[in-house]
């Protein structure tokens, strides 16, 4: 253990400087972009701001609340009332008593006037919040990555795959994931475009970090907040419980048992994983019920807190029932048909009314159907399971944005060691690049120029969905192949020993 720590510290000593330089430069890059935010006009891009994450809708909700109306009056705001109290004050326009010296073309300059005002004033403060959320997520991701990296090194040594004392072959996946998150154009766009998805992502990463570092209250808080903000992270309950119950990602237990049989227990117990593997000769990993019960307790406490706070802030405007109807109900019933990078908007704009409910059920159940098979097959890798769940939910979400892709792409980078020989990675990279370049073009052709029609943009969305599907399927099969490869390595190892 001490040896491992020493190695890690040594490893870290080299990297941190470079990591922090890159992280700070990403923040600087954001700040530079923010000063051009008015020209980029990112906050109204359909890729960035969905009806759920749009800052303009949040500002409208805040305005309505200030005017002592329900923030959910009208169909503008569909987010959490807590987010409203947190971000709302930042969106208020300070009316600068600027005097337009040139007294001409009043009317046709109104729009330009306004844009500058809103984005200048609300932009700077809001961007600080989103940038802060981003950097915090990156740090938490780094924490997850370090734990995963340690676990990977440990397991590899336990299985005898890694003979050298210093794990040179292991990539620092925490740093990579954090930098992928910070430098992902999707994240940057979301941050500068002032959508609320950085905050949702932060909550998800908080939950994972808490589970990985076994801080149960933190995990529960992150999960409850993430679920409160965007519903879909509720499915992360399964991986978080696995993480708390079984521990970190590890190769299948069978391998350890085999190794133990071969090496006939002549090694002292060094780690918890090996301890578990050794103390129980049965093929059952101990499930830490106590921690899980602890987690459930904290989750209940936090959700009670959230409910009470929401209740208080909405006490005059319909209370919790209204909130659930306007947030979760809005997510589940796909009422808003404005275009986004998903496929549901066009599907439900075109589908016959008679079948609408049927397809709503089918598409939402599609997420749930896959939970169980994945959980059975990947229960030894709960972090990876969480990543796959997030990828699936961002694929089948009713209002997806690029912020969701930013999250699962950076989580993907946590598994660079395991997924090193993933197929189609270059193809997927080109696909993502192509889609993200084509999407604004198609949108422009359809909405602004009127030379294209909706099918252009929908085709793009279909392409994006296909790439995501290939990505998910390939990640899963690469991970399963990795486990198989371990299994294959192991008998060889065994033979050599014999």
């Amino acid at each position: 253990m001490t040896k491992d720590d020493g190695e890690m510290v040594e490893e870290q000593k080299k990297k941190p400087c470079r990591f922090w330089i890159w992280a700070l430069s990403s923040v600087l890059f954001r700040l530079i972009l923010i000063s051009y935010a008015g020209n980029l006009n990112l906050s109204s891009r359909p890729e960035v701001s969905t009806p759920l994450t749009s800052i303009r809708r949040l500002a409208e909700g805040y305005w309505l609340k200030q005017a002592s109306m329900s923030p959910y009056a009208g169909s503008m705001y569909h987010g959490s009332p807590l987010l409203l109290s947190l971000l709302g004050p930042l969106t208020v326009q300070r009316l600068v008593a600027e005097t337009s010296s040139n007294d001409l073309k009043l009317c046709f300059n109104l729009v330009e006037f306004k844009k500058e005002d809103t984005l200048d004033v609300s932009g700077s403060k809001g961007n600080q919040v989103t940038s802060f959320a981003d950097i915090l997520s990156a740090i938490l991701l780094r924490g997850i990555g370090k734990k995963l990296q340690m676990a990977y090194g440990l397991n590899a040594r336990l299985l005898g795959l890694l003979k050298s004392p210093r794990d040179k072959g292991i990539l620092p996946c925490g740093d990579i994931a954090a930098l992928v998150y910070l430098w992902n154009p999707f994240t940057i766009v979301c941050c500068v475009g002032l959508s609320t998805s950085p905050i949702e992502n932060l909550a998800v990463i908080l939950a994972l970090n808490g589970a990985v570092t076994r801080r149960v209250p933190l995990a529960a808080f992150g999960l409850v907040m993430a679920t409160h903000l965007s519903l879909y992270p509720a499915i992360l309950t399964i991986p978080v419980i696995f993480l708390l119950g079984y521990g970190l990602d590890a190769p299948p237990l069978k391998l350890f048992l085999q190794t133990r049989n071969v090496e006939s227990g002549n090694r002292s117990s060094t780690s918890s994983a090996s301890k578990q593997a050794k103390s129980k000769p049965t093929a059952q990993l101990p499930f830490l019920w106590k921690t899980v019960v602890h987690f459930v307790f904290w989750a209940l406490v936090w959700s009670l807190c959230v409910m009470v706070l929401c209740r208080l802030s909405l006490s005059k405007h319909g209370g919790l029932e209204e909130m659930f109807k306007r947030t979760y109900g809005f997510i589940l019933s796909i009422e808003d048909l404005s275009p986004n990078i998903g496929v549901f908007w066009y599907f439900f704009a075109e589908v016959f009314d008679f079948f609408r409910n049927f397809f709503l059920i089918v598409f939402h159940v599609n997420i749930l159907f896959m939970l169980l098979p994945l959980a059975i097959r990947l229960k030894h890798r709960p972090c990876f399971l969480a990543f796959i769940y997030l990828a699936i939910s961002s694929l089948l979400k009713s209002y997806p944005s690029v912020g969701d892709s930013a999250l699962y792409l950076s989580l993907w980078a946590l598994f660079v060691n395991e997924l090193a020989d993933m197929k189609f990675s270059f193809f997927l990279f080109c696909g993502y690049l192509g889609v993200s370049l084509l999407s604004p073009v198609m949108h422009n052709l359809w909405i602004w120029r009127g030379t294209g029609n909706a099918n252009f943009y929908f085709g793009n969305a279909i392409g994006y969905a296909c790439f995501q599907i290939v990505f998910v399927v390939e990640s899963v099969s690469a991970m399963l192949n990795h486990d198989r490869a371990l299994k294959k390595c192991n008998p060889n190892h065994q033979k050599v020993k014999n």
């Binding site: 500002a59 409208e60 305005w63 309505l64 109306m69 009056a73 009208g74 169909s75 503008m76 009316l95 008593a97 005097t99 337009s100 007294d103 009043l106 009317c107 046709f108 109104l110 729009v111 006037f113 306004k114 009422e335 808003d336 048909l337 404005s338 275009p339 496929v343 908007w345 066009y346 599907f347 439900f348 704009a349 075109e350 589908v351 016959f352 009314d353 598409f363 599609n366 159907f369 896959m370 098979p373 994945l374 097959r377 694929l395 089948l396 909405i447 602004w448 029609n453 909706a454 929908f458 279909i462 296909c466 998910v472 399927v473 899963v476 099969s477 399963l480 192949n481 198989r484 299994k487």
Partner: protein, 629 residues
């Protein structure tokens, strides 16, 4: 004619007296026509018919003159007040007047506008409104029933100028108004268009005009029901341009192609008025013999008002042989301007593209001389003009109320300075339309006020688009009213006997409607539903299938299976070879593998058999249970 009419009238009044008792208030009908030359060489004709009925309980359900259809409406839906207008064309506030009674009452938004106040409990107002729209739709041959859906009407609180929580307001800007709406409207008149003033309504000449607005106003007053029907037409007299700047001369027959031959016998009074504005010498003695213009018929009375002169003609004297054909001949060029509202309102869209935009309402100060008359000195000595803005937004125009900005004299203004009161009810998608009421208080010396508000364009389901989806969608007119300004004609003589004049004497709110806006919305591809459904479902099938396949694949077992297959050289192949061998009658070449293959095939067949039985059982059970019900 006159000889036959008088005995008839006597008989009638006699019958009435028998029927209702002599001291009862009788139903009354009166007709009048107001003619007014407009500064831009046009002529305004305003037909006004008034029908009074005593409270319905005094007569039961019988009516003598009052239209039964309307009284049934009142009884059934408990309408307290209602106004329905059909309009085509836009009222020109600059040339036709903005602050006189005529324009504030009769300048209506394009299409159909309906508002009604009900006398029912608040919870039943909406159902009453819905039923009323259907009834009116049938009555007037118009698609007023579209106002039934909650996305097309609103409940104004104070911005409409009438504060009642039982008021509903809706308008249909796209409704085409034509003769099929006029005919049922005329049916409500006792004489229809057969006799009296309404005989002038020759359809081609009425609909040839620049503006026509047919209005029906029903109100419950102390003395019963009051039904006012008015038709306002702006016509262009046919003239040849003679080089001089003379106003066109006209006569009733040249304007309408018809003449008035006697009054409607059922009418209590039947008058024609001629209102002349901006006369050089509005003294009474110069009026009748002047060098400016000449009238063909000598007016029965002349009334003077502050800025105009009113000539009153009785048409009782006209007959078949001597029809009433008033004509006006100008002799000298004459120029005048109309009274304007304190601010002239216009509205437009800003932005391009189909994603978002902004609506701007521009209020420009007019050259109105009587702006000061409506000023409110109470406010610390500052002269202030109050303006109420009332605006309905359909739900597919998703307005961001927090982007509301007010520019006073091209400078952005903090809202609290000029915006005294605002009431907003945001629109809910596919549920209700949005409404915005604002009260502005502006300094009198203001030159222009611009109000802008941003919106996102909604995306609709394909069934929600009208057949001509690419034409765009209409945003109903905004209503700008000036609560401190009241339009009324101030006659020096006391004349309350004539219904139109007593109406003009009443103070009415100065109001003006803005343009209807046409918002183009993005359309999906209407021919795509099947393609979209199949493509999307294919993509999700791909997801489900490939992921499940990746999960259940076990490469180790597959390899083992392949190896064992390699040993056996394939079961199917062997079977085939056995078959061929049997057919040929030769012994099988590899008898060693026969028993295993047979065993396998038997296992296979038993499994297959089991599956088939299972499926059949399920099918039978399903059939049984489904037919049972």
């Amino acid at each position: 004619m006159a000889r036959t009419v008088i005995p008839l009238l006597i008989l009638q009044s006699f019958l009435l007296a028998i029927a209702f008792g002599s001291n009862e208030v009788e139903e009354e009908f009166s007709e009048s026509l107001l003619l007014k030359p407009l500064p831009d060489r046009k002529v305004l004709a305003h037909f006004h018919f008034e029908n009074r009925a005593p409270p319905s309980n005094s007569h039961g359900r019988h009516h003598h003159l009052f239209p039964k259809a309307i009284s049934q409406l009142v009884q059934k839906f408990r309408v307290k007040e209602m106004e329905l207008s059909f309009t085509q064309g836009r009222w020109n506030h600059e040339h036709w007047g903005g602050s006189d009674t005529l324009s504030s009452m009769n300048a209506k938004p394009v299409g159909v506008e309906l508002w009604a106040v009900f006398d029912v409990p608040r919870s039943e107002v909406d159902t009453s409104w819905k039923n009323l729209t259907h009834a009116l739709s049938g009555l007037f041959c118009a698609s007023i029933n579209f106002l039934e859906s909650s996305t097309s009407y609103a409940a104004p609180t104070w911005g409409f100028g009438r504060s009642s929580d039982k008021l509903r307001y809706g308008s249909l800007p796209r409704e085409a108004v034509c003769t099929e709406n006029l005919t049922p409207w005329l049916k409500l008149l006792p004489c229809r268009d057969k006799d009296g003033i309404s005989a002038l309504m020759n359809r081609p000449s009425v609909y040839r005009g620049f503006y026509h607005s047919q209005r029906l106003h029903l109100s419950m007053v102390d003395s019963g029901m009051l039904l006012e029907q008015s038709l306002t037409v702006v016509l262009q007299p046919d003239t040849v341009y003679d080089g001089k700047d003379l106003q066109p001369s006209w006569s009733l027959s040249s304007l309408f192609g018809r003449k008035v031959v006697g009054k409607c016998v059922l009418a209590k009074s039947s008058n024609v008025y001629l209102q002349m504005e901006g006369l050089a010498h509005p003294e009474a003695h110069t009026l009748l013999k002047n060098e400016e213009f000449e009238l063909s018929i000598k007016p029965d009375r002349t009334l003077r008002e502050t800025s105009s002169v009113l000539f009153i003609f009785d048409i009782d004297k006209s007959s078949d042989s001597e029809p009433f054909d008033l004509s006006l001949t100008w002799k000298l060029p004459s120029k005048w301007s109309c009274q304007q509202a304190p601010l002239h309102a216009s509205r437009f869209l800003m932005g391009s593209g189909n994603e978002r935009g902004a609506i701007a309402i521009l209020l420009k100060a007019t050259e109105s001389q009587d702006k000061l008359s409506g000023k409110d000195i109470t406010n610390g000595g500052h002269c202030r003009v109050k303006a109420n803005v009332f605006q309905i937004f359909p739900w597919y125009v998703k307005v961001y109320y927090h982007t509301l900005q007010i520019f006073v004299d091209q400078q952005q203004n903090t809202s609290s300075e000029v915006l005294k009161k605002i009431n907003v009810s945001p629109s809910a998608d596919k549920m209700s339309s949005g409404m915005m009421e604002m009260m502005l208080e502006l300094p009198c010396e203001v030159k222009s006020v611009a109000i802008s508000i941003e919106y996102d364009k909604g995306f609709l389901h394909i069934d929600e688009y009208p057949p001509d989806a690419n034409q765009g969608f209409d945003i109903p007119s905004a209503l700008i009213s000036f609560p401190d300004h009241h339009a009324s004609l101030d006659f020096k003589e006391e004349l309350s006997t004539l219904p139109l004049l007593s109406k003009f004497k009443d103070k009415s709110l100065v109001r003006s409607y803005t343009e209807v806006l046409l918002v183009p919305l993005t359309t999906p591809d209407f021919s795509m539903p099947y393609n979209v459904i199949t493509i999307t479902c294919t993509v999700f099938a791909l997801y489900f299938g490939s992921l499940l396949n990746a999960l259940r694949r076990r490469i180790g077992e597959e390899e083992r299976f392949l190896k064992s297959k390699g040993k056996k050289t394939g079961g199917l192949k062997q079977l085939l070879s056995r078959f061929t061998a049997k057919i040929r009658g030769r012994p099988v070449e590899s008898p060693s593998s026969e028993p295993t293959a047979a065993a396998q095939s038997s296992v296979l067949s038993s499994k297959l058999l089991f599956k088939i039985i299972l499926v059949a059982g399920v099918a039978a059970a399903w059939q049984y249970f489904s037919t049972d019900k």
